[in-house]
C-alpha cells in the first residue's frame, strides 16, 4: 500500500499518474461525483497515458485514439481498445489517498 497524496491535491475532475512504488504506472481519478478510482495508466491499445485522458463520469477517454474505459471495471466500452486494463483498490483515509496495487491479469 502506498500513500499517493492528500485528497485536496486530487480535486474532483482531476487525475494523477503514480510511477513510484508501483510495478507499472497507475492512473488515479477523482470523479465529479466524488469517487476515487485507480487503473493501469498505460492504455491497453497502444502507447498512451490514461491519466492524460478526458474524464467523463466514471469513464476515461484515452487521449490518443479515444477508446473509453470504465473506471470501475477497467473494461473498454468501444474501439479501438480490445482489452481491459487492471483496476486497483484505492481508499481515502484521514485525508490521504491510499493505493493498493493489484498484481496479476486484468479481470
Amino acid at each position: 500500500m502506498i500513500t499517493v497524496c492528500r485528497i485536496e491535491d486530487l480535486p474532483p475532475g482531476e487525475s494523477i499518474r503514480v510511477t513510484e512504488g508501483v510495478p507499472a504506472p497507475v492512473a488515479l481519478f477523482h470523479t465529479e461525483e466524488g469517487e476515487v478510482y485507480a487503473i493501469d495508466d498505460t492504455c491497453s491499445h497502444q502507447d498512451a497515458s490514461l491519466s492524460d485522458g478526458w474524464l467523463e463520469g466514471c469513464y476515461v477517454e484515452c487521449p490518443l485514439h479515444a477508446a473509453f474505459f470504465d473506471l470501475r471495471t477497467g473494461a473498454p466500452t468501444c474501439a479501438p481498445a480490445k482489452f481491459p486494463v487492471r483496476t486497483h483498490q484505492v481508499s481515502v483515509e484521514n485525508g490521504h489517498v491510499l493505493l493498493h496495487v493489484s498484481v496479476g491479469e486484468p479481470a
Binding site: 497502444q46 498512451a48 497515458s49 491519466s51 492524460d52 485522458g53 478526458w54 477517454e61 487521449p63 490518443l64 485514439h65 479515444a66 474501439a79 479501438p80 480490445k82
Partner: protein, 393 residues
C-alpha cells in the same frame, strides 16, 4: 435495403460494417478488399512496426468473435474495378459481379510516386502492410543509406524510425518550410527542427530531378545539382484518392468522391467514407478529404445512417484530429489551420518540445496543436470552433 457492399477493407470499411450492425441493419453485408489482409491498423506501419517492435498480428483491428458477430462476407485479395448504379452491381478485378442494394465506397487512397523512379528496386512508398514489410526488410539489411523524399508526417515518421535503427538518413523537401500548409510557418519550422535536433539532415526547398542506378537505386539527384547517395529511398509526397474504379459510374469525382455533409454521393444508395470522401467540412470551410484515422472511424456512422435512411444524416460534430509520433515527440493536431494563422502557445514552451498551442480566428480557437502535452491538448480540442462560425461571429 437488403444487401450492402462495402468496397474497401481498411479501418473505414470495418467501421462501416460495425455501424451498419449498430444501426440495426440485418441484411447481407459483403466487404471487398484489394489486399489479402483483414483490416489492420496503419499508423504503426511507419513507427513501431517499421522498427520491428511489434508484429503484424498486433495490428489487427478486430478479433474472431467480433467478426462472427458482424456476420459479413469478406472477399479479400481482389479489388473492385467498376460500379454500375443502374444495374446495382460492383465488378471485381477477377470479373465477378456482385449484386447489391447499397454501396459504401471506402477505397481510400494510394501513395503518389515519382515516375522517374518507376521500376527501380530500393524505392518505396508506404501505405499498406506489404509496403511496410518490404521497407522494413530493406532497412534492417545491413546499414543502408536512406533518403526520404517529402518531410510531411509520413516522411518524418519514416525518417525518425530509420534514425532510431541507427541508419544515416537524409530528408529532402520541396517546400521551404515543411508542413507549412498544415501547421503554419512557425510550427512548420519547428517540425523541421525535430529532424536537426537528432542530427538528421533535412534539405528544404530542393526538388528531386531524378535517380541514379540501373536496376537498383544508388542515388537521388536534386535540383541544385547535388546527388545524394542512397541504398533505400522512401517517397512520401502525399496520396491520390483511389477513384479509378468509379470513372463512368455517375458518382461525382473531383480529388476524391464528392459528397454532401452526410456522405451521400451524387448516386442514390451510394455513400463514401474515409480518405476518399470529400465532404463539406465546417472546420475547413469547404469540401475536404480528411485523411485521418479518427475520421475513418467517426464518419462511418454518418454515412451508414444516410445510406439506410435515404436522407443525409448529421456529420460528426468533432474537429478533425490527427497525431504523429516522431523523434520521441508526440504531435497532436485538431481543427483546421487557416492560411496565414500562427499558433499561440498557451502552456509549456517550444524549446523543450513540450507545449500546447491554439490557432485563433477573430479571437476564437479554430485549431490546436501540441507536442507531448496530451492532457491540455484534449481540453483545447473540445473547445474548438469551426472556422466559418468564427469568421461569422
Amino acid at each position: 435495403m437488403r444487401s450492402v457492399t462495402v468496397v474497401g477493407a481498411s479501418l473505414a470499411g470495418l467501421s462501416a460494417v460495425r455501424a451498419l450492425r449498430a444501426e440495426g441493419f440485418e441484411g447481407d453485408i459483403t466487404v471487398v478488399g484489394k489486399e489479402l489482409h483483414l483490416p489492420y491498423d496503419r499508423p504503426p506501419l511507419s513507427k513501431d512496426f517499421l522498427k520491428g517492435d511489434v508484429d503484424a498480428g498486433s495490428l489487427a483491428l478486430s478479433e474472431p468473435d467480433e467478426y462472427e458477430d458482424l456476420e459479413a462476407t469478406w472477399l479479400l485479395g481482389e479489388g473492385a474495378v467498376g460500379l454500375d448504379p443502374a444495374a446495382r452491381t460492383v465488378t471485381l478485378s477477377g470479373g465477378r459481379e456482385l449484386r447489391t442494394d447499397g454501396v459504401v465506397i471506402a477505397t481510400g487512397a494510394t501513395p503518389r510516386t515519382l515516375p522517374a523512379a518507376d521500376g527501380l528496386a530500393g524505392v518505396h512508398t508506404l501505405r499498406t502492410l506489404d509496403d511496410a514489410l518490404a521497407l522494413r526488410a530493406e532497412l534492417r539489411d545491413g546499414m543502408p543509406r536512406v533518403v526520404v523524399i517529402g518531410a510531411g508526417f509520413i516522411g518524418a515518421e519514416v525518417a525518425s524510425t530509420a534514425h532510431r535503427l541507427g541508419l544515416h538518413v537524409t530528408v529532402v523537401e520541396a517546400q521551404e518550410v515543411p508542413l507549412e500548409r498544415q501547421l503554419g510557418r512557425d510550427m512548420g519550422r519547428l517540425a523541421a527542427a525535430l529532424h536537426s535536433d537528432h542530427g538528421v539532415d533535412l534539405r528544404c526547398g530542393t526538388g528531386v530531378t531524378g535517380f541514379s542506378g540501373d536496376r537498383r537505386v544508388t542515388g537521388v539527384h536534386l535540383a541544385d545539382g547535388r546527388v545524394l547517395p542512397a541504398d533505400v529511398v522512401v517517397i512520401g509526397v502525399g496520396v491520390r484518392p483511389a477513384t479509378d474504379w468509379l470513372i463512368g459510374s455517375g458518382v461525382d469525382l473531383d480529388d476524391g468522391v464528392v459528397c454532401d455533409s452526410g456522405c451521400a454521393t451524387a448516386v442514390p444508395g451510394v455513400v463514401a467514407v474515409g480518405d476518399i470522401a470529400r465532404c463539406p467540412n465546417p472546420f475547413t470551410g469547404r469540401h475536404a478529404r480528411i485523411e485521418h484515422w479518427s475520421n475513418a472511424n467517426e464518419q462511418s456512422r454518418t454515412a451508414v445512417r444516410t445510406l439506410l435512411s435515404g436522407t443525409s444524416a448529421a456529420p460528426p460534430a468533432t474537429a478533425p484530429y490527427f497525431w504523429s509520433d516522431q523523434y520521441g515527440v508526440r504531435i497532436q493536431l485538431a481543427g483546421h489551420v487557416p492560411a496565414g494563422a500562427e499558433a499561440r502557445v498557451v502552456e509549456g514552451d517550444i524549446d523543450s518540445r513540450s507545449f500546447a498551442a491554439v490557432y485563433e480566428v477573430a479571437g476564437a480557437p479554430v485549431a490546436a496543436v501540441a507536442m507531448n502535452r496530451p492532457k491540455l491538448f484534449n481540453r483545447l480540442r473540445r473547445r474548438l470552433t469551426p472556422a466559418l462560425a468564427a469568421v461569422g461571429s
